[in-house]
Subunit: 409 residues, 2 copies
């Protein structure tokens, strides 16, 4: 075997819709020597993280904790804990991640109902509410920020409508949490899944979730404590249990709650990272942070348009932290991305499915969302496109972005 050396990773400017640059304070805290999982000093850190997550989710829910896995682990934990075989699940699809919800619900043997709209658009909330009334599902599962298309689905009326119709509303807010309002309680969302590696600027590997007592009631009806640790009062019967052990929220809440029932061994260093990440969000302040994301979005969009490029998602339903840029006719999108990486150390993203080869996606998320990064990506993109023979308005991009920054003080 080769004699492998120490990691020697180049320093990148990461302007994708995730993973994005990790806040240096978060990187640093991961070097903290670990604690045992039931050490009182550690369970205190667990509780503090739960408390701060409630703040980020804008909720009074008791349950707000991370799943130990990447973002889709949070989605799967909720869907597989709530869906029983044959349950009707309605999924509005407006991009790749709506398909992902469908995939996961299907594997949990749900009866799937979908409504679809063209990639690049979102639904009128009434369309979703009408579908809920028609299908009468147990669960509506919907994406909030669809990074594949750069679109954001409004949900402030969908949540209350679901509540009234007694439908459980489960929302994938992986891309939006910490970058734009996700008002769990005000919008009456029953469960919400966040991501770490996007607007929270924490490495991938955890997925913070929250859910209310309506979801908890379903979990408790499916609860089964593991043999090997169950005590006399626990139900050991093989009933219609949750099909995953790892994602069984009825057990996970006993681990995160006062019973502290052993399940997995909490991912210590990642929890330190998440705690520091949400602490930074709350220190900055939610509104200030959301405004910051909007400010840099505006500067980036102005720069892109002034350069002479076209935005794919220049609509009121644009996801504030993802700019989707149309790849000019005849240009090889991947060649541009490669040159950005090789010459400038900048990473931007391509897209999926029908949009592959048609758009680039530039993220302005979390710690990556700052002035020097926006200005650097604009200047690099201009230079690389000129090298690729694209006719542009030379030097206009940076001027427009600077104008934008000056206009907001």
């Amino acid at each position: 075997m080769k004699n492998y050396q120490e990691i020697n990773a180049p320093l990148r400017t990461i302007m994708t819709p995730g993973p994005v640059e990790v806040d240096p304070r978060v990187l640093r805290v991961m070097s903290t020597p670990i604690l045992g999982q039931f050490d009182p000093a550690f369970t205190k850190i667990m509780n503090e993280t739960m408390d701060m997550l409630r703040g980020v989710f804008q909720t009074e829910n008791q349950w707000a904790f991370p799943i130990d896995g990447t973002s889709r682990s949070g989605i799967e934990s909720l869907l597989s804990s709530v869906i029983e075989p044959g349950d009707k699940v309605l999924i509005p699809i407006f991009g790749r991640f709506g398909h992902l919800l469908t995939e996961i619900a299907e594997r949990n043997r749900a009866e799937i109902h979908t409504i679809e709209c063209e990639w690049g658009r979102v639904f009128n909330q009434d369309e979703i509410i009408e579908a809920v009334k028609r299908v009468k599902p147990k669960v509506l599962a919907v994406v909030h920020g669809e990074t594949s298309t750069g679109c954001m689905q409004p949900l402030d009326q969908v949540g209350p409508a679901c509540r009234e119709l007694d439908v459980l509303c489960i929302v994938d807010a992986v891309a939006t949490i910490g970058g734009t309002p996700v008002k769990v309680d005000e919008w009456q969302l029953d469960a919400v899944i966040g991501g770490t590696q996007k607007c929270l600027s924490v490495p991938s590997g955890m997925s913070p979730i929250t859910y209310n007592e309506r979801i908890e009631k379903v979990l408790n009806s499916r609860k089964k404590v593991e043999r090997g640790i169950a005590t006399a009062e626990d139900n050991l019967e093989s009933g219609p249990t949750i099909q995953s052990n790892y994602f069984d929220l009825s057990q996970l809440q006993d681990y995160w709650g006062p019973r502290r029932l052993n399940h997995h061994t909490e991912a210590t260093s990642m929890l330190y990272a998440l705690r520091e990440g949400v602490r930074i969000v709350l220190e900055e302040g939610l509104e200030t942070r959301f405004d910051r994301h909007k400010k840099h979005e505006k500067a980036l969009m102005s720069g892109i348009k002034a350069m002479g490029l076209e935005l794919f998602n220049d609509f009121e339903w644009k996801l504030p932290m993802v700019a989707c840029v149309k790849i000019p006719e005849g240009i090889d999108g991947d060649s541009v991305r490669n040159m950005l990486l090789e010459q400038f150390g900048i990473e931007i993203a391509s897209s999926f499915g029908p949009l592959h080869g048609k758009i680039w996606r530039i993220g302005t998320m979390g710690y990556s969302c700052r002035k020097e990064n926006v200005l650097f990506v604009l200047s690099a993109l201009e230079a690389v496109l000129i090298r690729h023979g694209v006719k542009l308005n030379h030097a206009e991009g940076l001027q427009a972005a600077l104008d934008e920054y000056e206009s907001v003080k």
Copy 2:
């Protein structure tokens, strides 16, 4: 909300059967700024980690990569990817983690067959082989190192017997990998799951696995690429797919393999940690590392016995990195553990199920497995037990351990 401060974690001497102290080099590498998941600099790190994992697993298998989750995520990924509803699965149970295998297999709708032996014993390999012949399962799932009882199940004859009988042999080596031989190829094990937070001395949050082409054949027969990223040649039919999306190894191997098909976003910082952890293991050398674990085990056992305490697992099938100490009659085991933590900053573990309140478990794993820790835990245990009124041979424990260390140079 409270104004939370920076993490201020006490420094502990962690002598449990996991999680254990993380190697300082591993702690440090997690502070490395991250890379994007498809950055060539990152996919190189993925490949290097796979290569080094093969070394740790002593295998030529193509597939050796981590699942992004704690140890049981590795177990669930293998069981849920391989087991189809109604498949016969045989599980020999000799402690808590055998029950866990049963739990997970059950939730994958297997037809479960178990054989059980008393906690504190293991099976004669012939007993397992006889059961395999009788049950004719598709899968034998078995724990190698059972930390709940401190016992290790020999498998060198079980593996070849399974191969001959065309049974898939899946082994939970979470506790043993990196601490004692786990000869995947020589023992003809079809799939093996390792843990990070034990003998590898990496934080919890990843689970390295390996499997051979016999397992891969099953995966390929159940493969389905996600809608939203599938291309024309991919199968989109809803067949008998794997019931988890997150743990679907047929997709995960396309992400870790040359196709680099997008699935989750790899947990960057944890991967850096794992890479450094396995690099340290290979630098030390497997045999040297296994010998080190045995040396400190011997010193710890000598000390415990010289003190006048009794070992619960003083057998040839003892798990080399876990000493199970009988709690003296009339002593509150948790009170002793609490005093160790509060006065000495040392953590040792209790146990589960029938052994709860009967034994303490002292781990000597990975970075925690070193002379100063062994001597410190012996001296602290003696002092605390004297404070609890236990009659002991004063000062004998340390002398016996020092004798042991001197005898091996």
